[in-house]
Point group: C2
Chain length 273, copies 2
């Protein structure tokens, strides 16, 4: 069956989306069509959303699902008039927290992602800038500021992982490529020895690496399975020889790679609270 799911929020909708993704992934027999409606912060927008949802319900013949992180009761009341199944994060979780904290919730919209939390915001931006400035082996002089230095073959996922760690967790992640020229007997530059405790190796299956490279440069030596296998073998031996912690990125998402590195290296990261 095809199910329609609406993510409704008075803010960005990102929390509702991730929550929904977690829940929907548990239902393998369904196909999902999802739509996010963010910034529903007045009655007009709420009525518009209900109209869209009810129209969808009629057209699809199945009952849509709403996953909502909307705070205000007057807007929620409007959403309750829709024909959808409404899963409301606040209804379920705010009451027990109020009791536990012995405080009434403020029902204030938008504190979460506001710049009020300026310190963590600035920390994330600073980390993103650091990761850009030290991308792909740039500016090793800045490594003393790095929280971590990712190593790996070209296209093994270093840059997206470093940027995600910076953006999501405020971690200063540099990355250093192990290039073809280094391959015969790869050694880090001498000065890198002082940062050995910050090094972390990305591994990848040669077949997958070849596929990724072929999207960029089809039919190239660079993308050939032989070349990829050779690089992967040398790099993996280097990690073992130098006793560098590693993760296999082959079948992992950026989120997984980033969070597993944080756990393994016990990195200090931005906390959400």
């Amino acid at each position: 069956m095809t199910q329609t799911v609406f993510y409704l929020s008075d803010q960005t909708g990102i929390t509702a989306e991730l929550l929904g993704q977690t829940l929907l992934s548990q239902f393998e027999l369904q196909t999902f069509v999802t739509q996010t409606i963010p910034y529903i912060d007045n009655s007009k927008k709420a009525y518009d959303a209900v109209e869209l949802i009810n129209r969808t319900a009629q057209q699809s013949g199945t009952r849509p699902v709403i996953i909502s992180t909307i705070v205000h009761d007057d807007i929620k009341t409007i959403l309750h008039t829709s024909d959808a199944l409404l899963l409301d994060v606040f209804e379920h979780f705010i009451a027990p927290l109020e009791e536990s904290f012995n405080e009434h919730s403020s029902l204030r919209v938008g504190k979460k992602h506001s710049i009020a939390d300026k310190e963590s915001y600035d920390g994330r931006i600073e980390a993103v800038n650091f990761s850009l400035n030290t991308d792909d082996g740039l500016s090793p002089k800045q490594y003393h500021q790095a929280d971590i230095i990712l190593l790996g073959a070209s296209r093994s996922g270093k840059t997206p992982t470093a940027l995600y760690m910076a953006m999501q967790f405020g971690i200063k992640a540099a990355n250093y490529p192990i290039t073809d020229e280094d391959m015969e007997s790869f050694e880090l530059p001498a000065w890198a020895q002082q940062f050995k405790n910050k090094l972390f190796g990305l591994k990848i299956d040669a077949q997958r690496l070849s596929e990724i490279r072929a999207e960029r440069r089809p039919d190239s030596q660079y993308a050939s399975i032989e070349q990829c296998q050779k690089e992967v073998d040398i790099i993996n031996r280097y990690y073992v020889r130098e006793d560098i912690a590693t993760i296999d990125t082959t079948s992992k998402s950026i989120e997984e790679i980033a969070t597993k590195i944080i756990a393994k290296m016990q990195l200090k990261r931005l906390q959400y609270g």
Copy 2:
């Protein structure tokens, strides 16, 4: 009061963190200390987590809160033995979904962030690469592939916004700086006229811009309030003259800026489901 909150997950913990952030932001009288324990995927790890949580409860004298997105019942049963208030996403929301979809949930861990969803994963990586390749006015020849081209003064938030749009939503976001040299009478290069429907202007308060620039180059002409005010005035007039849609980034988070641009420009984006 200082409240301790644990985010527990059998995966990355990112969903639990964002959900927690949404909920905790409603309680203004509390101070929160949060800790994420990801990848709790066996009994041993669950017992270790409970021990840590109970020790924290004893030391702090307040009852900790657990926000959990753990799927498996046997692990959840262990968590229920802790002294904390357990808010469990699955307990509340899976049952109504099972009924609505007429399907038992698979209770399968990790499908969500797995590379199974390879298409959207590759789309995100491709978008990140595009945004890096077209950062700060690089490679305008690639603008025909762009979903959006962000304009703005130096340090107005173009790069983090573009990277976030790419990473989170798979949107190919280029960015083009309006620099000091352009200032006297800023005009986009002639060839940019063909991409006018992709242009989007970032605005920022001159005072905030001056603060941001001063962190990089203190006491510089570049960071002076006069210089920032001058640039902001010229750029804002340019946006009006050329009828370019804008957003004020001054007191907004990257998430807000990105999602509001998507809504305003009705950009096609990666869906979560």
